[in-house]
Amino acid sequence: MDLREFSIKSLREELAAGRLKASDVCRTALERMQQLADLNAVLTVMSDSALARADELDLAAQRGDSLPPLAGTMLAVKDVIVIEGTRATGGSRILYNYIPPYTATAVKKLEAAGAIVVGKTNCDEFAMGSSTENSAYGTVKNPWDTARVPGGSSGGSAVVVSAGMTTASLGSDTGGSIRQPAGFCGVVGLKPTYGRVSRYGLMSYGSSLDHIGPFANRVEDAAEILKAIAGHDPCDSTSSRVPVPDYVALLQEELRGLKVGVPREYFGEGLDPEVKTRVEAAINKFEELGAGIIDISLPHTEYAVPVYYLIATAEASSNLARYDGVRYGFRAETGSSLREMYCRTRDEGFGAEVKRRIMLGTYALSAGYYDQYYGKAQKVRSLIDKDFREAFSLCDIIATPVAPTTAFEIGELIDDPLKMYLQDIYTVTVNLAGVPAIVLPCGASTAGLPIGIQLIGPHFEEARLLTAAHNLERVIGFNQRPSAIGKVS
């Protein structure tokens, strides 16, 4: 059984008809995770709880009970999202032994909708990175070419879906951490509008930029997951009360008359020519669907990366202060002062990239520098937001590349943080504006690596995005599978 062949809808139907058992689907997922352990995508396998829940579902199906919408969906969750009783490291040594006493709202909603969580996925430490090389638990490998990175920071969550270990997964996206790995691994990744999905239970990195969103093998499945996790949460004051539409039902709408904006700033210098060609070809497919294509401009794009790295790191420097060795997690062995305990715990507990960002953010907020850095970054952020508002007065969605290149080699950029940060150039603007965006595969490079296209919509227009992506997916017809890993038996 290849999990990638089964949509969420088909799993539900097969289960209801008695042609498939949840426990068999679950075993398939667990076996596949074990078989592909070398990819290092999964940090914690949750066999016992997953099988127990699968048995419950099977019993319910036998009794003829109506099954919940995500019955049969095998789910993996990025390790920066907490589940009660299951270790959550956030990819960091500093939480190597941390067992959370509560469950994130998004996971609770998915479980309530019948999904079964089978594992926690590897990621860059506290979601800081674009390659999943910054995990304290080792680098994740790209199933299309195991010498390459899967992207990051949600690399593990992209890989489990791409390699058929789970039906879908949850990731988090602060500057592109769902979309860039989705692009690198040839799967669908969705970053919803800021406030659309509760952040409660997501370890904060940059609170004003953090999002939870799904990975899936098809747009339709991403719509199913979003439908389950979207909505207001009384535990997250930044979650929105805007009503949640039926994303799945709306997928069948047509695109006739849709105006697709193509921002010229996203196709300039630094973009790999092969990526450019593929993305442009995919955009032209919109015309087949009856949509119109227009040129637009997002003039403040060039400031997005520095603005992002000021705001995200400033917030991170504060968000990560709680990892101090006092109440939970790693504490350095030290006998002397409180100060020494703090310093050594954080020095030994955090990896290099996290320390780099904490220092950057601390500096940006320091007395005398605040206005110059954080204050100014916030001003430019509002200009970027304005760019999008103006663009969306001219077009309905925006189409862009996801990343300047296809998946790069492990170790290729790790010593060049600035070049690594430029990986986020097409994704961070979206987080700064808080608008939703979806990534889907639009082809492969001559080297056989997937290339993704990003579609961006106005605030709370996920339905429009999903419909456009669903239609585009159909006409593109991308159906390649990762080649570097074992075939499914």
């Binding site: 907490v82 959370p100 004051s237 930044t238 101090d324 409180l338």
Partner: protein, 491 residues
């Protein structure tokens, strides 16, 4: 020496708002629970937990702000104050910084210097500016003593973590320690009046820090300020300020300069100690809290809160003086506690004798309550009982002396005055013939004293009066006894 210098003091008061649950989670705020039992992912600062604002805290802050004549900002924001300490679970405190809840307030209150015995010299009214009142969360508590392994470890109790506080920052308007003392007392009284804080400094729900500097009289420039912390009672505030003023004057007089620093008051040694210098001061790296939307208070909300405010202590004191003709001190004492002031007003109205009401409440009743350790609201004695008693005195039905006994009994049983008087064998005897009869008997049986009186020892009048009242079972009207006895003795 003092005359040469002018003292400049500003105060920062932290008042715990008496909400049932914490400011950003639903944990209880009850005092004295098992350590760390009132905690949850939010107030423990667990990874992924997020704050959700408790609306009652905002309402209470609004009541406090309006009572202090502060202007409530239509929109204010929370900010993070970043520093490391074991009792601060998130590594930052959610507070307010550049856009606080309310600003530009003031109070105009009675203040007086005190003599060595602690008595007020001369009360006068003075206006003090209040810069701002903002909302923030409390930290937990570090416990360094009294626990197993305290010699090698420190413990942290996070029950207090996330308890709502209002921080009330004054202008540097105080020119003496007693002005500061009177202000804090007034602040406490006001917060109690509007029912937002328990006002108990010893339990820590009212805390005070002070900024103190001195300058030569007439100088426009402020001197270097020193921050004083750990002022955990009203008396400490005043004593610590006195100590610090003397210390700064001594430094300047010795030709040195006051150093900008934070000093800690040590009550046992009655002195301040340097805690950290300016160089060691924290850079709190304030920035807007991204997890919480702005606090928006609508104009009609402000109006509603203002409408529901009770009469505040100082306006009430002035009214007591004007409306009831009370002395300044009496009025001030009565308004000190809202329940006492309410009790007074009811008694004043029902008895028709405000001055008597004030006297009885401030003297005899206060003594009774003190000796039984009860609050006025808990006493079986109700204001209508006291009113009835005052009316009986005024009509001559009982004497003042009897009334004291009646009051004691009313405080014990809560029975009506008339009933108690009856139980004591009836009211006051004002019947002259009855008194004359007793008086004649008393004079007759004390011939020696009679001779002495007639020989000029007129002070013995008191002896005869006392005997007559005693013989009457304490019920004879003293005024009539006095007249009758005098008449018989001088016959």
């Amino acid at each position: 020496m003092r005359e040469k210098y002018e003292v400049v003091i500003g105060l920062e008061v932290h008042a715990q708002l008496k909400t049932a649950s914490k400011i950003f989670c639903s944990c209880s705020t009850a005092f004295g629970a098992e350590p760390n039992s009132h905690t949850c992912p939010v107030c423990l600062g667990l990874p992924g937990a997020l704050p959700v604002l408790n609306g009652t805290a905002i309402e209470m802050a609004a009541r406090a702000a309006l009572a202090l004549n502060l202007r409530i900002n239509h929109e204010s924001i929370f900010s993070r104050k970043n520093y490391f300490y074991p009792d601060l679970p998130k590594g930052y405190q959610i507070s307010q910084y550049d856009r606080p809840f309310s600003e530009h307030g003031w109070v105009e209150i009675p203040t007086a210097e005190r003599n060595d015995a602690g008595h007020a010299k001369e009360w006068r009214l003075k206006k003090f500016g209040i810069t701002r009142l903002h909302i923030e969360e409390d930290a937990g508590k570090s416990l360094h003593e009294g626990l197993r392994e305290s010699s090698s470890k420190s413990y942290v109790d996070l029950n207090r973590s996330g308890v709502p506080l209002a921080e009330i920052v004054s202008e540097p308007d105080f020119r003496s320690s007693w002005e500061a003392y009177d202000y804090i007392q007034y602040l406490r009284r006001t917060l109690l009046y509007v029912d937002v804080c328990d006002g108990n400094m010893e339990e820590g729900n009212l805390r005070c820090d002070a900024n103190v500097s001195i300058r030569t009289r007439g100088s426009e420039r402020f001197g270097t300020k020193v921050e004083l912390k750990n002022l955990n009672s009203f008396r400490f505030v005043q004593k610590a300020l006195e100590y610090e003023i003397d210390r700064q004057i001594a430094v300047v007089e010795a030709g040195d300069r006051v150093v900008q620093e934070t000093r800690l008051w040590n009550e046992r040694e009655a002195r301040t100690y340097s805690m950290r210098s300016k160089e060691e001061a924290h850079d709190y790296r304030y920035f807007p809290e991204p997890d919480l939307p702005p606090i928006v208070v609508a104009v009609d909300q402000v109006a509603r809160v203002r409408e529901a405010l009770p009469e505040l202590p100082e306006p009430r004191r002035r009214r007591f003086v004007e409306e009831y003709g009370l002395a300044f001190d009496d009025a001030a004492q009565l308004v000190d506690n809202r329940a006492t002031a309410d009790f007074f007003e009811e008694t004043a109205r029902d008895s028709g004798n405000p001055k008597a009401a004030a006297n009885w409440i401030l003297n005899e009743l206060a003594r009774e309550l003190k000796s039984s350790g009860t609050e006025i609201t808990e006493s079986p004695l109700k204001s209508d009982n006291l009113s009835e008693m005052i009316r009986m005195i005024d009509s001559g039905a009982i004497s003042g002396k009897m009334a004291k006994e009646v009051l004691t009994e009313m405080c014990r049983s809560g029975a009506p005055a008339a009933e108690i008087v009856k139980g004591m064998g009836g009211g006051q005897v004002s019947d002259e013939s009855q008194i004359r009869e007793i008086a004649a008997r008393v004079v007759e049986s004390n011939p020696k004293q009679l001779d002495e009186y007639r020989a000029g020892r007129t002070a013995l009048l008191g002896f005869f009066v006392g005997q007559v009242i005693k013989q009457s079972g304490g019920r004879a009207n003293p005024r009539i006894v006095n007249e009758v006895v005098k008449e018989i003795l001088e016959r």
